[in-house]
Amino acid sequence: MIAGVFAGVSTRARILVAALAVVLLAAPLVLDRYLLSVLILVCLAAYTGQAWNVLLGFAGLLSLGHALYLGLGAYISAALYVHYGIGPWLSVFPAIAACILVATLLGWLAFRFRIEGVYFALLTIAFAEVARVGFDHIAFTGGAGGFFLPVRSEDQGQWWNLRGGPTFFYYLALLLAGNALLLCALLRRSRIGHRWLAVREDPEAARALGIDVNRARMSALLLSAAMTGIAGVFQAFYANNLFPSQIFDISRSIDIILAPIIGGVGTLFGPILGAFVLAPLGEVLISATGAVGLNAPGTKALFFGLFLMAIIAGVPSGLWPRLAGVLRLRSAPDDHALSHRRDEALPRSCRGGRCFAERRSWFDLRGDRSKRRR
């Protein structure tokens, strides 16, 4: 299996990946508690970014509600632990099941009624918002007042209950991020990976080739939801407190999408690179603005918003393709980023060009139709 992942990857790239793995594995030996906590954030962002990337980067569906699965996973595992004493290694399964259930509902609704593009993104936000408001009213998990996991010193070191120090959580996060990368690399080469790309690039053509577009999209959605749900379980036991207004919030969904967008949507290493850029940058920003006396979280988010706009305007395919060029890595054949080419079907009149295309009618319905090339 591992051999399959590395087939066709240049020696240079293999050496770099191995070096990165060694550095990350050895990191706890030299880093202090604080830096290790930053590195945990990096791994977690890389993991959730990878999960989200499956959906937009591979299957072409933009979700802005991934906080939903994060929150569901977190709340379910936390509730099972607090109320029934069921440990996270077991409760991760009901957490995944719940995420899959909700994602199936969302996918059924979206794909059955051909909700695409922006409408799909809105539907994901709406689902996350419903969950946020809903969990505010569930007394079983503390409602709006928050849900807290007991932190007792005698529990320390109970790895089966995810009770441990930063090093333990670091290796767990690294394990998650590493496995997500392997999984995505494998899937990318597989039949389903190729189907996803076909659907992403041109759903009509994919349908004409006999690909069940809805099924391909649904499988990407379910996988992405399940992966994010696992991150939620981790989040619950790492943070030990949950608030619906935080974990289901749209800003959490945006945190999830930042890393892959900055690194490069649709690439395997994009989410990882994005996470390595973002989390340390966030920490630096917080300490710098705190020192100046500004509202630190606000400044950080403001800066990230500007960063997001700058990336999407200037380097829409993300930083990874650039870095890969600098490192002289022959970009692996399957590592193509989500395309940002100017769509020929759209009017060039806006740029003073010559070619025009018909648009269907005043206020078209549902998404992408005008953007399909014809």
Binding site: V133, A301, R342, P347, F363
Partner: protein
Amino acid sequence: MTLSLYAEVLIQGVLTGLVYGLMALGLSVIFGVVRVVNFAHGEFAVLAMYATFVLFTATHLDPILAAIPIAALFFVIGWLLQRLVVQPFVVRPQHDQFILLVGLAIVLVNALLMIFGPDSRHTDLPYAYDSWFVGPIIVDKVRAYGAAAALAVAAALFAFFRFTLTGTAIRACADNLTGAAVVGLDIKKLYALTFGLGLACAGAAGAIMVALTDVTPMLAPSFTLLAFTIVIVGGLGSMTGALLGGLLIGVVEALASAIIAPSMKSMVSFALLVAVLALRPQGLLGKPAT
């Protein structure tokens, strides 16, 4: 609950809904013509709320009258935004546009958060608690004025699109861009104009909204969602649909807060959104897709 109380809630919902509808109208116009989804729409409405609040504290200008200068200001902002930021994205894939405007939304909310803080602000209107008695029913004066102002702005926009040459040109861009370009319309200019008009709607709605509710930066994302919900429920492409959707959502939210709980009102409108998407995806007044 007595019948008259229901009637009051209903009327309150209709009056607030008209202001929501005006905000959603701006979103609908921008998407219908420029075909860019303004994900920062609610953020701009909240920005307008703060602008009106600042204006009110400085000059005690009635927020509902302030809707006129604020709309003008937001027209200029919209024009510049389209010209400087959004125009290159007109031909980019939808998700790129969406991410750009999500970024802008984050910037706006957090800028407001840094300047004004998370506490809610409100304007003390001299007639804030006045009301009329229509038989047994009480009608809030301020809501009635706000709704009337929203209707006036919407009517002006309708008239602009229907009767002026520029309005017809914008409709031409939306209907058939090729044709519009062939007959020599300056599409870039018309797009900037449309974006300006869309934000002017958001600005006017925001100015009126200050008279009705307290303002915090946290309102912004929910306003964006609200505007989208209204546009989808009303039917994308129908300007009357946007207003009607606003009415409907306003009434549904008012009833939900009265009957269930105020904090559950957004859930009810999302349920409505899901129901509309499932049963009538083109919206109430939209034309079915062919």
